[in-house]
């Protein structure tokens, strides 16, 4: 429709955008310009400080090649721990969050009150304080190691936020859905399981994804109780080598890779489940 325009006539704005979307040369160019500008600022900033870039020293912290075998460098060993902590905490966060939300919406006064107390404490104190508290006070009582202390703290902290996300999703479901369940004689459990939660969870996928991304980034805080996850490894390497920019940029890129894959995965899920309305 937009080919062979008379000479000198400009494309309407919308048409230009559509053509770019099809053949995104312009967008790629803009992207490259922005990226180059950022890189320039970083390099300039570093050189103003007299920073001496030594990127060539970084790869050994990612991979080690020795006697014909590859093995993981310190940073990727840390990534393994980070992934482990994140995955387990993520599952626990979802479970704790849902349980707390359901308790807050339950008929039981004790259930509601205890959920509320947990929520307010977990949400209104800094994660780092909770980490120390759980590691130094709770862990010895329960006899758990620092790794599980870290997982427990993260799950309890993020679970509080997740519970509010779930709750907002649940109360946003039209009350007619509950009435339909009641009129069919469904139990409360069945109503939640088959009707309310499947709809609510679809609605809260975007904020729940943000929360999961926060969890990944917050997992770097567990370095304060000396769990050797990625950030802890990075701190250690920096202390030894003074490669602060190189090492921190590297782990930032790895975190970015993780979080972007998660948000892309969820975007895929959302498209897949969007079958109605």
């Amino acid at each position: 429709m937009t080919k062979s325009l008379p000479q000198g006539r400009q494309l309407p704005l919308g048409v230009t955008e559509r053509r770019l979307a099809k053949f995104p040369v312009g967008h790629i160019a803009i992207y490259l310009i922005v990226m180059l500008a950022i890189a320039y600022i970083i390099v300039r900033g570093a050189s103003e400080q007299g920073y001496h870039w030594q990127w060539y020293r970084v790869p050994r912290y990612l991979f080690i090649y020795k006697d014909g075998v590859f093995s993981l460098g310190l940073l990727l060993q840390g990534l393994e721990i980070t992934l482990y902590i994140t995955l387990v905490s993520m599952v626990l966060t979802y479970v704790i969050g849902l349980a707390t939300a359901l308790l807050r919406l339950s008929d039981s006064i004790i259930g509601r009150a205890s959920a509320k107390v947990y929520l307010e404490i977990a949400r209104n104190t800094p994660l780092i304080v909770q980490l120390f508290f759980i590691y130094f006070v709770i862990a010895p009582i329960l006899g758990i190691d620092r790794l599980f202390a870290a997982i427990l703290s993260l799950s309890l902290f993020e679970g509080a936020y997740a519970s509010e996300i779930y709750r907002s999703g649940i109360v946003s479901i039209h009350k007619g859905q509950w009435e339909a369940c009641h009129s069919l004689g469904l139990t409360r459990f069945d109503s939640y399981r088959k009707v309310i939660l499947p709809q609510a969870i679809r609605r809260v996928l975007p904020p729940l994804t943000s929360q999961t991304i926060s969890l990944i980034k917050d997992s770097s805080l567990v370095s304060v109780i000396a769990v050797y996850e990625m950030t802890m490894q990075a701190n250690a390497i920096v202390a030894e080598t003074f490669l602060s920019f190189e090492v921190y940029f590297t782990i930032a890129a790895i975190y970015l890779l993780l979080t972007i894959s998660i948000s892309q995965f969820v975007a895929l899920l959302e498209r897949k489940f969007k079958v109605y309305n």
């Binding site: 039209h174 007619g176 859905q177 009435e179 339909a180 009641h182 009129s183 069919l184 004689g185 469904l186 139990t187 069945d190 088959k194 009707v195 499947p198 709809q199 679809r202 079958v275 109605y276 309305n277």
Partner: protein, 250 residues
């Protein structure tokens, strides 16, 4: 109509009162009895308590005082009684309230699977039968969002019938529909009435009331102003309030 045989009373409502937290009194000392196979139409101005009456019958609203007995079982604080009564009463809502994330078939199968614990095959066969009956047999795998209002309401009727209820409650089942779709829903309701289903219908469709109802109740301000057979009620209303209401809407 005159030859229709009624059974014993299936619902006894005695002196129920209901005041909402905002101070509005929806029902005051409301009593009525409903016989098996009877089709009762409840009419009245908005805010007269018609819908509240229906919603109290299956416990969607709590009554403040009085008693409701369904087929010998009191609707009280006992959870099992409440579930039992709800399972024996089907309800159709003004806004359909279908489950949007399930197909038409799944909507109708759900309660059969969860409440009656029927096998998937049994539930599916029964559901397809019901959907055929309401004329949606060709849309079983559609989602509610893909159907017209009239079709959605017919699915909702099939869903309510799935548990083989003893009584069907219709809460302004046609009020949210486009005019050309009201007929198809009323047709399904008339068929049910002819088959001897006990029905309580809150409606503004006076034609429907005249055609199929055995008893008409006119409500205002939470009370029954007047009740009678359709013939008597429409041709010879006794109360001033009824006459006024009818003159306004006829």
């Amino acid at each position: 109509m005159a030859e229709k045989e009624f059974g014993d009373y299936i619902i006894n409502v005695k002196n129920i009162c209901k005041t909402f937290p905002n101070g509005v009194t929806a029902l005051s000392n409301f009593s009525t009895n409903i016989r098996r196979a009877e089709v009762v139409v409840v009419i009245g101005p908005s805010g007269s308590g018609k819908s509240t009456f229906l919603r109290c019958l299956n416990g969607l609203e709590e009554i403040d005082s009085g008693e409701i007995i369904f087929d010998g079982i009191p609707l009280d604080d006992n959870k099992n009684n409440r579930l039992h009564i709800r399972r024996e009463m089907g309800m159709v809502f003004q806004s359909f309230n279908l489950f949007p994330h399930m197909t038409v078939l799944q909507n109708v199968m759900l309660a059969q699977r969860l409440v009656k614990k029927n096998t998937a095959a049994e539930a599916k066969a029964a559901s397809i039968n019901l959907l055929d009956k309401v004329g949606i047999g060709d849309k079983v795998n559609s989602y509610p969002g893909q159907l017209s209002g009239g079709q959605q309401q017919r699915v909702a009727i099939a869903r309510a019938l799935a548990l083989k209820p003893k009584v069907m409650l219709f809460d302004e089942a046609t009020s949210a529909l486009d005019p050309e779709m009201i007929g198809e829903v009323l047709e399904v309701m008339k068929t049910l009435a002819r088959e001897g289903m006990t029905m309580i219908c809150v409606t503004h469709e006076l034609g429907f009331a005249k055609e199929v109802s055995d008893w008409v109740i006119f409500m205002d301000e939470g009370r029954i102003v007047e009740g009678g057979t359709a013939d008597d009620f429409f041709s010879n209303p006794q109360e001033k309030r009824t006459q006024l209401f009818l003159s306004q809407i006829l």
